[in-house]
Symmetry: C2
């Protein structure tokens, strides 16, 4: 591990840092990212397993190939950042290929769970050049045909920083990783995250910002617990509501209006996609689901008993929605109000900056 030199990293965030991006998997996320980066004048090329997708992307003027080895060799040659745009089950074989054909490239991904991906990365010995990513954008559609410009505009793009904490704590004798002050002091010492990891981290933040996303840092496990509550759980509840409404037969469906429509909307998502999210985030989903089931059981018992009332849940739920609205606005398309925290990658205090941003759900900017 080489020493960290501040000037290298300040330079690398300047607009002139347009080292290439290599996207593996040109589906909705990977393909849309390719569109936006090319539009911004960024050198970008990609690979997809399906010849048909490669043909379509090429016809649309993009630099795409179905030859994985050649693509990875080119990535290595051109010092490209590799973006994995494939679903979790396809990651392992790509990590193998990257280890062999692109042994020094930085790597990031765009999948919706992070702990499982980090474990896979660790198992492949790639921790030191991997930064997890999760752009929280998407539509119900998939494949190259669904790709579009501007998909990430205004969306959150979570970027993990587990590597920085691990390196900091590994070099802070007797201090846990939660001890940010000690960890931070250590991060300026010899054992800090590798230059390659920091370089990768800065490049990931750079492309997310380039396409208009708000970068929010989070440890993998905190990301997974957060999305279990606000993204995976809503899918489960929407499905349970859809089934219960449907069991009421035609009369119930005929009387269904906007509360049922909105409450079941994401049940329209392809079941395989829902399963891919949830079955790769089991522990965190079960924790969130247990809390919800406990709330519903309390409400059930309050409603079943004529001398009780459901004031508790009605008022708590309304207050919670109010706090969400205060941050996110009442309607779709309203802009989320997030604090912005400036971070200086690798410099004294930067772990504190990341941890503060994470605890507030704040957006970060590099300076």
């Amino acid at each position: 591990m080489s020493d960290f030199s501040v000037s290298d990293y300040r330079l690398s965030t300047l607009p002139e840092d347009r080292r290439p991006v290599c996207i593996l998997g040109l589906g909705l996320i990977g393909g849309s990212l390719m569109r936006d980066l090319k539009q911004a004048g960024w050198p970008v090329f990609g690979w997809n397993r399906s010849e048909k997708t490669v043909e379509r992307a090429s016809r649309d003027g993009f630099d795409a190939s179905a030859d994985l080895v050649a693509t990875l060799q080119r990535a290595e040659r051109e010092d490209a950042l590799i973006v994995l745009g494939v679903p979790v089950p396809a990651l392992a074989s790509l990590f193998d290929a990257i280890s062999e054909h692109a042994p020094s490239c930085g790597i990031t991904d765009v999948t919706s769970v992070k702990v499982e991906v980090h474990e896979l990365v660790e198992a492949h010995g790639l921790t030191d050049r991997f930064v997890g990513g999760h752009p929280m954008a998407g539509t119900a559609n998939s494949g190259w045909a669904a790709t579009m410009k501007g998909l990430f505009q205004g969306a959150v793009w979570v970027v993990t920083y587990d590597n920085a904490v691990e390196h900091a704590s590994a070099n802070t004798a007797g201090a846990g990783s939660a001890d940010a002050a000690s960890a931070d002091a250590a991060s300026t010492s010899a054992g800090q995250s590798s230059q390659r990891w920091l370089d990768t981290w800065i490049r990931v933040v750079g492309i997310a910002e380039e396409v208009g996303a708000a970068v929010v840092p989070a440890l993998a496990r905190r990301h997974d617990r957060a999305v279990a509550r606000v993204s995976h759980l809503p899918h489960i509840l929407a499905e349970a509501l859809a089934v219960t409404g449907d069991q009421g037969g035609p009369l119930a469906l005929s009387l269904a209006a906007s509360s049922f429509r909105d409450g079941t909307r994401v049940a329209g998502t392809e079941p395989a996609l829902v399963r891919a999210m949830i079955e790769n985030n089991r522990t965190a989903v079960v924790e969130a689901l247990d809390e919800t089931i406990a709330l519903l059981q309390q409400a059930r018992s309050d409603i079943a008993d004529p001398v009780q009332d459901m004031r508790g849940l009605a008022e708590d739920g309304n207050a919670a929605r109010g706090r969400f609205e205060a941050r996110a606005g009442r309607k779709r398309g309203d802009t989320m109000h997030r604090p912005i925290i400036r971070v200086r990658p690798g410099q004294r205090g930067w772990l504190n900056q990341l941890q503060s941003a994470e605890s507030m759900g704040a957006q970060i900017g590099i300076f």
Copy 2:
């Protein structure tokens, strides 16, 4: 009870039947109904407990009074249809006043539960001139200031017909009310619903159609079970989701996107309004909630076990949402596709027509 004469009722549905409407309670529903009826040239006057509301309505050019007795005496004099636009807890005292000051007027209501209201009506001895109604329209706001033109355009307006079934079955020796054929045969005999009830029923359908609503007939208990699933349950789930998301702290709320936004939208409803709906429909809500909790517990156990999967709920929920979309469209503002069934009030076969419409969730038209 006088005999039913066909020509009377066919006449009463002609556009010339513009006997007055008297609205008690000028909140969102009552006040908006007043706007639409007046706009359509219908004679309409109303009462509200609050002098301030009466002043505002009068200033807007409406015929409003804070004198309940005088209003009811006028309703009786002018053969007005009385529309109760007040919440359930306010109904009992109005039924007392109506019994005393408007002893022959037809009565309907616009509250969101029907069994409890029908029981109250029965206790006041008003069954024979009461038709339950539930226009499924509304906004998060309330009071005269929230009233608007066109609120009911395209909305469902449920109209109950319990009285017709009860009269039919009471006169069909040995046959249950579910025996539509016998009930129907009986409904043309001497013991059928009173002329006053039929007249009220036709007038209620007439005003609902006048303001652009789709009239769907339902027995009180079937209405309550249906709305428990598609209207009351979505509020409970939205509240539980809002609380569980909020318990994830600022990071979770910052990562919350459209699935959380849509899934919690109705948690923004005033808690008192949610409680009024649900606490007046306890049995049906508990039944629906128990089904949902059972689905969630099964999903929880499938997700917690690494060798299981959540295919069951994911696929059932997606299929159920698909059936809803086939009927209602994918987006807000899409038009619900309902069959239309024509009924001939009080004539041979009309109970069959109503029961068919109810079982299909069909809209009815009078001919």
